[in-house]
């Protein structure tokens, strides 16, 4: 009789414990009218470098400075300084005042 009662107690306890776990999972139900997203921004900063690039000679461009490289009639020229803006590389008498043929 005592054993039977003990067994019954354990059975009831196990049943209640299992029932509790089931109930607990149900109480975590969804309760929200809406889920609102977000918009956020992040910045990335990049510095560009410099390089030596030969561009085609442009007679309308008047801002050549020493070191600028141009190509003209199949030749490459380097500007000596501001005077390069006054001469067409390889043309006329005094073009060399503004340009150096490479």
């Amino acid at each position: 009789m005592k054993k039977k009662r003990k067994f019954l107690r354990i059975a009831i306890f196990v049943f209640m414990a299992l029932s509790l776990s089931l109930t607990t999972s149900q109480t975590l139900a969804y309760w929200a009218s809406d889920v609102t997203g977000d918009v956020d921004t992040a910045l990335a900063e990049v510095i560009t470098g410099d390089w030596e690039q030969v561009f085609p000679y442009d007679s309308s461009y008047d801002d050549y400075v020493a070191g600028d490289l141009v190509s003209y009639n199949g030749q490459t020229y380097e500007a000596r300084g501001n005077l390069a803006n006054s001469f067409t590389p390889g043309s006329g008498w005094f073009w060399w005042l503004g340009w150096t043929r490479l």
Partner: protein, 192 residues
């Protein structure tokens, strides 16, 4: 004398019986009331909207000064032809008490970017937009799950050659700022 009292007693008893009898039942039936209904109204409340946020963290930004890939050989050491930017993105629920326990929310993520550039105080954004390219890594996720782990999003920044000396002067040594905007599409919440 005794029978006289008995007679009086009987008469009183009869009087009581008959008097009571005047209140006797006189109906061929008792009808119940017609059916009645009452309406009770209970308004079910609604849960508050759940606010969510992005947590963005700049993981790494590799590289040095950006130059065109075709001019890397003509550039000083330390120049790079590609800069990788990696952002850690986590989507989390605001607040300390979760309303969404037992559910899973997911949404497609959209990342857009805007390029601006400055060179010595001169705005060269138009030129930068024509020369700078940004590509999202193919491994970037297309959707996020709420309260999941941080996901890395990688972007590669490259540039192409300027067309002439004037453009070169404008773009070399410029500071390129890329603003990445992270946003979510339709959020889907399902019960676990």
């Amino acid at each position: 004398m005794r029978s006289k009292k008995l007679v009086v007693g009987l008469l009183v008893l009869l009087a009581v019986v008959f008097t009571t009898g005047t209140f006797a039942y006189w109906a061929n039936g008792v009808n119940g009331p017609t059916n009645g209904t009452t309406t009770g109204t209970v308004t079910v409340g609604s849960g508050n909207a759940v606010q969510t946020s992005f947590v963005l963290s700049d993981v790494t930004a590799s590289g040095g000064d950006l130059v065109p890939a075709t001019q890397l050989a003509n550039s000083p050491s330390g120049s790079v032809d590609s800069v990788s930017v990696i952002y850690g993105v986590q989507w989390t629920e605001d607040g300390t008490v979760s309303q969404l326990d037992g559910t899973t929310s997911a949404a497609p993520i959209t990342i857009t970017w805007v390029i601006t550039a400055d060179n010595g105080g001169t705005d060269v954004s138009t030129l930068a937009n024509s020369l700078i390219s940004i590509s999202a890594d193919s491994g970037n996720l297309g959707s996020l799950t709420l309260d999941s782990a941080v996901q890395n999003f990688t972007f590669d920044i490259t540039m192409s050659e300027p067309a002439n000396q004037s453009d070169y002067n404008d773009i070399s040594g410029a500071t390129i700022t890329v603003t990445f905007t992270y946003s979510l599409g339709t959020i889907t919440t399902t019960d676990n």
